[in-house]
Symmetry: C2
Subunit: 367 residues, 2 copies
């Protein structure tokens, strides 16, 4: 006997060709009826008379017929209410998914994310950039955390130059180009009390307005959460992949799981997982302790089906160097290894994802 | 000789009667001219023909005349462009500032904030509620962090009941009423991929829709940042005050400074500062270490002019209890003291702040 959950799982593989997200996550699946070996499903289309309906119908039928024990598949269509459509579009705005910002001549863009705050995204961002730079690459950092900017401080950068020709990023000792909201504010403790729309606009303007010059790698530091800033960067920025940072705490793992699932739903490539604060060695007696629970980054990565990049200890040296703006002086063979794994993943030859057709965004559907 | 910075500082004491924020932060101060003992300033009004202009004029003149060495004060008015006004309203929406949500019969509402993620807001929220409850009060927790909800996990709560009459919060062993996004989601790792407007709407609906019953204290756990969720809670929720959580890292202190400045600008009462992760004692050799830099919560609090509530160590017991959902089993005389200080601050007799008149919000200004 076929089970409803089998049908749901099968339909998770059917992707809306316009939005690029599977139809279950898009809340398009509205009904499943199973009678013996016949399965009938109801699908709500975002736009009632979309010409892509045939493509969706064929994909749904194929997916259902692929379930063991199913002989007949039937698809019925309904369409979303204005409200439902808006809710979907606010999450997965198809126009923005398709119309990525230009790559500005930057070879690779990688975002560092977590979902959870305080796990070390900014430190990982900084160390990735430093290690890429040490290998001789041209590297930039965009601090995507506008309300909690940390990047300027850990590199002890002061100001960027803004004139009519654009924003000239600050340049560190090693030669990394840096752009952060805190380089624009008058005082580092000035709050950026902006709602989402302003945050999204500013993110795009910082990226597009900066004179990056030629860059091999741009590393973007993301704020916590799965709301505006990460959503805009996942949707509109031409990122090649993300690095996810977690800590051993189960609580953290749960929230980080949200960010991983967000990336998966949005079709963003996950380069791998780094576990920070995995352990601590007492500098006096050498005792090795798990301050935040048992390290299990490798297990989490395996369960999520993403590469595990490595575990970093709690290291008071990092805090000290970051607080004094000297992150570029931090040497760790362990992190160098992690950075190389990220480089390898970025440079792996991959079949580029098929760009979803723009049909419904271009107005063809209206007829 | 009078100095411009003296004039700016004096005008920081003049509050726009409609918005409830000082005119300097509102970007209303557009020019200062000093000629001997005469000071002339230009003020941009949000609305050109507002009847409150006389009140603002008088306040500005008084403030300037209060500066030593000034004999004559003159005020000229201009008005903001549509764009400037919108920017201000997106930050300080005056309608929302004035029209707070009802208090729902709850005696005291306190929000736990930080600006920075991962410093222990949820743990502090949980421990405040637990300690209030142990003293015999009726206590509730609203998890205001919709995208990174932690509260349900640390109390091992499962589900809330939602029916036509509203949301019935989950109740812990100790009898604390809990409402969190994770009690509504099907799986704890489901991401909440919402932009700001949806977050704000959901926050209000959770608060208003919950059957809190009679509560002495409602503790709200806020997400990091100074964008939508904290902004909505500061503006629209009838909170009595906030508790700010920081850690010794300078980097963290800087971001927490943003949150403190946000609260000050918005006229939110700060009950005090808690420093978390201040130190760690090796359980083997007893060595006391500063993992994240030198503890200086008291210094920060003093500099910010807010009470210092206490310093908490890195304690692997807390991580363990939180991960297993048993935060209610955590006992710490140190934290009990902190909780009592918060209670004392909340129960202090204070002159209630004068409610700003609603003039310009009610359309009177249009004429």
């Amino acid at each position: 006997m076929v089970d409803k959950s089998q049908v749901v799982e099968a339909l998770r593989k059917v992707v809306d060709p316009e939005i690029g997200v599977n139809i279950v996550d898009l809340n398009m699946l509205r009904g499943i009826r199973i009678r013996g070996k016949s399965v009938s499903v109801t699908i709500a289309l975002t736009v009632p008379s979309c010409p892509l309906v045939d493509k969706i119908k064929a994909d749904v039928e194929d997916a259902i017929r692929g379930i063991k024990g199913v002989e007949r598949a039937e698809v019925q269509f309904t369409s979303m209410t204005e409200e439902e459509r808006e809710e979907i579009f606010s999450r997965f705005d198809p126009r923005k998914v398709v119309m990525k910002l230009p790559k500005m001549g930057i070879r690779h863009i990688v975002a560092v994310t977590s979902g959870k705050g305080g796990v070390g995204k900014s430190v990982v961002t900084g160390l990735l950039a430093v290690n890429f730079r040490r290998l001789g690459f041209d590297v930039g950092i965009l601090d995507g955390d506008l309300t909690g900017s940390s990047i300027a401080k850990i590199f002890r950068m002061d100001r960027v130059v803004i004139d009519s020709s654009g924003i000239t990023p600050a340049v560190t000792n090693l030669g990394i180009k840096i752009l952060s909201m805190n380089l624009i504010l008058e005082r580092a403790e000035d709050p950026v009390i902006w709602r989402g729309p302003l945050i999204n606009k500013a993110l795009k303007e910082l990226y597009l307005g900066a004179k990056w010059g030629s860059l091999d790698y741009l590393v973007i530091d993301l704020p916590p959460g799965t709301s505006d800033a990460p959503l805009t960067i996942f949707q509109a920025f031409p990122i090649d992949g993300i690095v996810v940072v977690t800590s051993p705490q189960e609580l953290v793992g749960m929230v980080v799981g949200k960010a991983i699932n967000m990336a998966k739903r949005m079709g963003v490539r996950i380069l791998g997982l780094i576990e920070n604060m995995s352990y601590f060695e007492c500098p006096k007696c050498g005792e090795r302790m798990e301050l935040y629970g048992t390290s299990r980054g490798d297990v989490v990565a395996k369960r999520q089906g993403i590469p595990f990049l490595g575990a970093m200890p709690v290291d008071p040296r990092i805090s000290r160097l970051c607080d004094s703006g000297r992150i570029e002086n931090y040497n760790s063979p362990l992190f160098t290894k992690i950075a190389k794994k990220v480089l390898d993943a970025l440079n792996e030859t991959r079949i580029p994802p098929v760009m979803p057709p723009m049909a419904c965004s271009t107005g063809i559907c209206k007829g």
